[in-house]
Amino acid sequence: MALDEPKTTDFKYVGTRPDRPDGFDKVTGRAKFGADMMAPGMLHAAVLRSPHAHARIRSIDTSQAEALKGVKAVVTRADFSKNVPFDSGLEGEFWNVLENVMAGEKALYDGHAVAAVAATSALEARDALKLIKVDYEVLPHVTDVDAAMAAKAPILREGAADSSVPEGLHPNVVRYHESGHGDVEAGFAEADLVIEDSFATEATHQGYIEPHACLATLGSDGKGELWCTTQGHWYAQKVCAALLDLETSQLRVTASEIGGGFGGKTTVFIEPVALALARKANRPVKLVMSRSEVFRATGPTSSTSMDIKVGMTKDGKITAAQGVFRLQGGAFPGAPCEFTAMCAFAPYDLKNVHQIGYDVMSNRPKQAAYRAPGSPMAAFAVESVIDELCKRLGLDPIDVRLKNASHTGSKASFGPRFDAIGLVETLEAAKAHPHYSAPLKPGQGRGISCGFWFNHGGETAVSLALSEDGTAQISVGTPDIGGSRASMALMAAEELGIPYDHIRCTIADTATLGYNEISHGSRVTYASGLATIKAARDAVEKLCKRAAAKWGIPEEAVKWQDGFAVPSGPNAGNFDPLPLKDLTADMGATGGPIVGHFEASPEGAGVSFATHVVDAEVDAETGKTEIVRYTVVQDAGKAIHPTYVEGQYQGGAAQGIGWALNEEYIYGDDGRLQNAGFLDYRIPLASDLPMIDTVIVEVPNPGHPYGVRGVGETSICPPLAAIANAVSAASGVRLRQLPMSPPRIVSALKHKTNG
């Protein structure tokens, strides 16, 4: 059976656009999200949070809260594991998560959890919080990345830095990355023009509309159940078990429908707290965050401060590039400084390149992954400088990018050589798109940018069971954030040769499948998709065996063709093709249930590139920027369900527009977050955006049976720079700090006018 050859054409189901299997539930209101679950005897919980950016916790008195009628349990740090060492598992991640979900000796940011209550109603739980007395010793704080690296900055935690950090840096610098190749100084000497500039971006929140929510049950027998909105329930199981001294397998975690994640639901915040309360009260406990808690204590992405230097010849060849990227990661290590550094120059085939990244702690919430973590900021800085070089040298920005573009076999700025990639194809499609040559109105400007993301594979397990009536059910372990159940069913339909509608894909709980890594790194359609295809092939192999037995011929003499077992080869003989449903109808009598499965950590996730074209109009009087036209061109490898691929392109662009123009975490001098709500943290509205045009480029990824590349994250990499370049073209001023909010644009225009 020639099942292992890559298939990139002649698809019957892949590439079609059927309705999603969860659509009906989601339009009728019956889909169950994190906060929609209830249990008999359920309590409601609430969390007390630090009002200080940095404070030593001298004592916590919970006695009055415990005495309040209706209160069934109060927990503090003392109710969590005392066995998690400082450098435990996941490179110290368990300790960091524990410290983040419930403060120990110090509160490290405004909103840091210090205690929690479970009571018979949500109102009683909130009332009880007011009775908890915390004695704080307020300490000096720092929330800005450059300030946090400066000599006299308050130290968050001594000894948090790992061995990558060179000597002599402030203890708040906890990780360091350096990479590149060639001789950048020699390269700059060859350039006709060198531009060196500094950029900054503010922290932005993933902004999923569904706040974190969970329902936990846990007995003193160590057995528990957890329902939660998460991108990775096996990870939640592993971490919660560690933080509560449970055996991992005794805690069953079920992922609810997830109301958006974008990376922000790849860790745990309230889940261990709800479990601790449930154990103490011996009752199910529901815990739901308010929106202000989501802003103050989850996410956001890193803020950055960046220095870029790029040299170019007058015909547009980049001779050298270097970047320094300082990422503020909040109160714990983990800001994606290496991703920022590694993505920065990835679109370009460079002889001389050098990049440095710093992970810096400050008194802000621990940063969480946000869609291509670290990459959009780098693209903003680098692509702004390249745009400026093109402008000053009088060159077309797409032509210059084509001249320098990474292609198959290029040595990437971060080391390895690229396999088949589609950057050139996206640039050519952007250049040929009518948008690029459309006339602009006065006051409008056009910008373009490229973007890059690695994509990821990761631990994956899928099971595919056939039913007697010839239908199939797939169990996957990656929560569906953008329609992946439909994509899995399409791939299984293709392999089995049965209609899409005859397949149901379910997100299995942790008791049902082997470990599945989080839905992150744009890995789901790639890795769970690959596993689904392999599981289907495993089932097909078993079907062929049953057919061979029926016909009394060797297994090798049976092949699978479009839903039928058919005899094949010289010794096969003449038999009528057997449809799948005839083989499943009597499977109990021919050897038992037929189930295909696949478990592996696929490593062939193909990297992905995009090119965005955007037209912006800047109102010089008010500083307001309107996005008037937007086109996304991105390589999907192979679009399994093109409509959902378009949805990822559009969604990434929209989030990028918000990041570029409006969204920012604003901290006061007191170190407290000033805009912890959707009124003041303004994400794009329907009235802010135009239609977002999409072009799907397909350069197959050799690492997937159908050529799939992840598509979820790359779409947020180019928008910040593309919009900055459009604003610069429209207004004549270069904005080096995001967001390009009206006050910043007005100020920049004023300085330009004044000389």
Partner: protein
């Protein structure tokens, strides 16, 4: 604190509940009537995920107290389909993939139905501004707007 007895109508059914004076209509719909279609995305009237109609007026149910529902008529997403037939907007949202995670979808459907009931022939701008109180973080609104414009055209043709 003593509770308030509320008699009201939800999706055509007479219902009663006891609520704390501080509880919102959204709390009551979700926790007392177990109608969890309306979502709490913010609790401050900024995101529209809790949109319902109160005597045919579109409201954020997180900004209405449960007690204010007394004697009123409430419609939620759970009341949009008729029997086993989806409302045309619901059907088109599935067809256009006008939802990704789906958590904003109930609010957007209720808000849009309310618009089309008043204005069967809205312009794209009118739709965009009407929905400015309903946040969606996944889609960039493109497919939502297209689904709505197409539904409106179909409904006009049918009437």
């Amino acid at each position: 604190m003593s509770k308030i007895h509320v008699s009201t109508t939800v999706n055509g059914d007479d219902v009663e509940f006891l609520c704390d004076p501080r509880e919102t209509l959204l709390d009551c719909l979700r926790d007392k009537l177990h109608l969890t279609g309306a979502k709490e995305g913010c609790g401050t009237g900024d995101c529209g995920a809790c949109s319902v109609t109160l005597d045919d007026r579109l409201v954020c149910s997180c900004l209405v107290l449960g007690a204010e529902a007394e004697g009123k008529s409430i419609s939620t997403v759970e009341g949009m389909a008729e029997g086993e037939s989806l409302h045309p907007l619901q059907q088109k949202f599935i067809e256009y993939a006008a939802l990704q995670c789906g958590v904003c979808t109930p609010g957007i459907l209720v808000a849009t139905k309310s618009l089309l009931d008043k204005n069967p022939d809205p312009t794209e701008s009118e739709v965009r501004y009407w929905l400015a109180g309903n946040l969606c973080r996944c889609t960039g609104y493109d497919k939502i707007i297209r689904a709505i414009m197409d539904t409106a055209a179909d409904l006009r043709e049918a009437s």
